[in-house]
Amino acid sequence: MSETRGTSLPVLDPAAVRKERRARAQEAEARRHERERALAEAVTGWFAPGEASRAELRHQQTVTVPVGRAHETLRRCRDELGFDLLTDVTVVDTLKLEGDHPERFWVVWQLLSLAQNATIWVRAWVNEDEPACPSVRDLWPAAGYAEREAYDMFGVEFTGHGDLRRLLMPEDYAGFPLRKDYPLRGRGERDNFPVIRRANEEAL
């Protein structure tokens, strides 16, 4: 240990260090994209050809599955692929979205695997007249609030949820405000309160 006396630390070039770190981060990111692609392909592989599809946009993997098999798919994602965390459940309304869509809404689940550091999206189309979709509250308790919010904003019924009440809007609110045919300023709900006046306005 006495030999360390008088020696100095090696002088590093900060630019070179930054470059090396950036390269390592990019490699790690590329490996993560590979993992995510493999996981998404594994999910697609559970289905007959044409039944499910995989899409990739800016390295995000989205698997589209039939709504009837969504619960089973998500359970297998959790149990077999190690997606231990459900980040979000939400709905997309394609009413004013460009392109050709088989149904009006899709429900999307965002899954995260902490051990593998991988995220995939699973989505399922639901129809407009009776939008319904199986609840995954039994798989991830975190789905409870997310599904209540999605129901509150889009009116998609999550069957088997058990406690599907409005989360943000008042209980007696009519309509689902994030649907794209809902007017931004509402339908007069914000002007519909009793007016309280002073009893003794003149006296004051």
């Binding site: 943000l168 300023r185 914000r190 309280i196 009893a199």
Partner: protein, 199 residues
């Protein structure tokens, strides 16, 4: 009144109404209804730097039953409006309300389905504070204005409440009063360059 002549020094006489108003205006108990960034300015106003206790309004009560000045600061949503109305009804008379900031006064930038576009549609408001959020000085100014109102002073209303138009009679009266004061204190106003020929 002349009572002092009989009672001697150490007594002043007043009307009971004025005495009550004087007590009330110097001891306003605020009920903060802060739902957004205005509440931060409200806290600043109440704490040591701006110190609203200088004006007798520092005893913040979070129970509406123990307060007489409601300060609505921040956005009020569809779900919050019944709560606000209930709080207002729970406050004992006499009571006053300040609408603090753009959101409480008119909805601010939040013109959406869930935002109340001005709480004065549904509860009575005495003083509005402009700003987004208002500075503590603005809130103090509003409290001072409210104190004048509590004391029974005729608070200058430059806008006619019924028509929404400028109150011309009051503006003229103010101008006349200002000219009169000026004439008495500093002499007649100097004529402007263009007006000399006419004068």
């Amino acid at each position: 009144m002349g009572l002092e002549n009989f009672l001697g020094d150490g007594f002043i006489s007043t009307r009971i109404k004025d005495l009550l108003a004087w007590g009330r205006k110097n001891s306003l108990w605020p009920m903060p209804f802060g739902t957004a960034c205005c509440a931060i300015e409200m806290m600043s106003t109440l704490s040591s730097r701006y110190d609203m206790s200088r004006f007798g309004a520092e005893v913040v009560r979070f129970s509406p039953r123990q307060s007489d000045m409601l300060i609505v600061g921040g956005r009020v949503t569809l779900k919050m409006m019944p709560v606000l109305q209930r709080i207002w009804l729970q406050m004992p008379e006499p009571k006053w309300a300040i609408s603090m900031g753009a959101c409480a006064s008119c909805g601010g930038v939040f013109d959406t389905y869930t935002m109340i576009q001005g709480v004065d549609q549904f509860i009575p408001i005495d003083v509005y504070v402009p700003g987004c959020p208002p500075r503590p000085e603005n809130l103090i100014d509003a409290v001072r204005l409210l104190q004048d109102k509590v004391a029974g002073k005729d608070v200058q209303r430059l806008m006619d409440e019924r028509t929404g138009q400028p109150n011309l009679a009051r503006l003229e009266a103010m101008e006349a009063r200002r000219a009169e004061l000026r004439a008495r204190l500093v002499g007649p106003a100097p004529a402007l360059a263009g007006q000399e020929a006419r004068a």
